[in-house]
């Protein structure tokens, strides 16, 4: 009551309570009285409620949505980086294998070339041996043919000579004589005749 009387003394109009006419009398721009304090408390409560509702309904859900999206994007980026790492590892492994295969291929080719060279030498040696054998066989055959031909010619010469001698003698020669003369003639002709 004391406070009211004090404040009434300071600001008599604004603390006049009761009738509807007071509403018309109430006007202030900056009134430092007890009613302003009540107004302040009332507006304070109103504004706090509005701000808390805005935070609860608007800010927090939207911020959560944005943060979730940010986390999701960060997760996807991390996964992409991880996949990239896996791909890079696979590529490095593939390239390593390709290099190893290239070396291995060279080794195989070298071995093949070496083997081919060895086989080539063996084949040529074998061919040379065979050729030499063929040549030897051919020479032997030629020699045999020559002997054979020599014998035939010698026989024919003797036969012709015998015929000529028979004609000269007059045909009085028996078969045994003919044969003996023929053998002697052949023996006398000898090898010297054919080796010239």
């Amino acid at each position: 009551m004391l406070l009211k009387n004090l404040l009434t003394a300071i600001n008599p109009v604004r603390l006049t309570a009761g009738s509807g006419a007071d509403l018309a009398e109430y006007d202030r721009v900056l009134g430092l009285d007890i009613n302003t304090l009540y107004d302040i408390i009332f507006i304070w409560i109103n504004v706090i409620v509005i701000i808390l509702v805005l935070s609860w309904l608007l800010y927090k859900p939207v911020r959560k949505f944005l943060n979730d999206r940010k986390d999701r994007i960060a997760g996807e980026l991390a996964k992409a980086a991880e996949d990239m790492q896996v791909a890079n590892d696979a590529r490095a492994e593939y390239e390593g294998k390709m290099l190893a295969i290239s070396g291995e291929r060279e080794d195989i080719l070298d071995a093949a070339r070496k083997l081919a060279g060895e086989k080539e030498v063996a084949i040529i040696a074998s061919a040379n041996d065979e050729a030499r054998l063929i040549m030897e066989r051919a020479k032997t055959e030629i020699e045999r043919e020559r002997e054979k031909a020599r014998d035939e010619v010698r026989t024919q010469i003797v036969q012709v000579s015998a015929m000529m001698a028979e004609k000269l003698i007059g045909g009085g020669m028996d078969e045994a004589t003919k044969s003996r003369i023929l053998d002697d003639a052949i023996a006398e002709l000898g090898d010297a005749v054919w080796t010239k």
């Binding site: 309570a17 109430y26 721009v29 009540y38 507006i43 304070w44 504004v47 509005i50 509702v53 939207v62």
Partner: protein, 232 residues
């Protein structure tokens, strides 16, 4: 031309205690209703929000929240970014309250009864954040006795005066804009009030309103950060 705050109804608590439903109260309710409606719409539409925004509405909401989130993180660091929830609501309320003059309302912030409790809340939050995060080794209490113990009254007065300076800055600017625009509108006949006064209204109501909402919130955040440990 009357710039005083008018009481429209009176709400009696007892015979001697009553609350005036003033122009400020009604404007506050209207601004609050619009903001809560917006929040409800966002909450409903949030379920349809795409990972990549496809609508202008989603873009605007995301840009607003993201901008404010970054602003809070810049000033208050990530450790205290959870205070952003309060300051975001405060900023939206102040923004719409400051520019509500464009829509013919008496801006709630042109009333000391609105700006003072908001600034006083900042001072309370300063003490809360100081006690919560700077109480180790008695740093919160020691701050009041720096540089020497005789500065204790000055340091206490300094904290209290922040609420007064913060609230009077906003109140004075908004009331100044209200009075100035009232006078300018009064100068022009009704038929030509769309031109020059309209452009000035854009400046005093929209630009100054948005600017001071931003200043109020930014200063509040800085005041809060004055109470946290220096290492933070």
């Amino acid at each position: 031309m009357n710039f005083d705050i008018q009481a429209r109804w009176r709400l009696y608590i007892t015979d001697n205690i009553w609350i005036n439903i003033t122009d400020t109260t009604i404007s506050t309710w209207i601004v609050g209703a619009v903001l809560i409606l917006l929040a409800v719409v966002v909450r409903v539409k949030l379920k349809k929000f795409k990972p990549v925004p496809e609508t202008r509405f989603q873009n605007i909401i995301e840009a607003l929240v993201e901008f404010f989130d970054n602003h809070v993180t810049t000033i208050m660091t990530k450790k205290y970014a959870h205070f952003g929830a309060w300051f975001f609501g405060l900023f939206l309320f102040l923004l719409l309250a400051n520019i509500s003059g464009i829509f013919g309302l008496r801006p709630p912030t042109a009333d000391f009864a609105t700006t003072f409790p908001l600034a006083f809340t900042t001072v309370i939050l300063m003490q809360v954040i100081g006690i919560r995060y700077n109480m180790k080794k008695g740093e919160y209490v020691k701050e009041f006795f720096r540089p020497v113990f005789i500065f204790f009254p000055l340091n206490v007065a300094s904290d209290i005066s922040r609420s007064i300076s913060l609230s009077l800055r906003l109140f004075g600017n908004m009331l100044g804009g209200l009075v100035l625009m009232g006078l300018i509108y009064g100068l022009f006949p009704r038929l030509v009030q769309i031109g020059v006064p309209g452009a000035l209204s854009l400046y005093f109501d929209l630009f100054v309103g948005a600017l001071h909402a931003f200043i109020f919130v930014t200063l509040s955040m800085y005041f809060l950060m004055m109470k946290v440990p220096e290492t933070d």
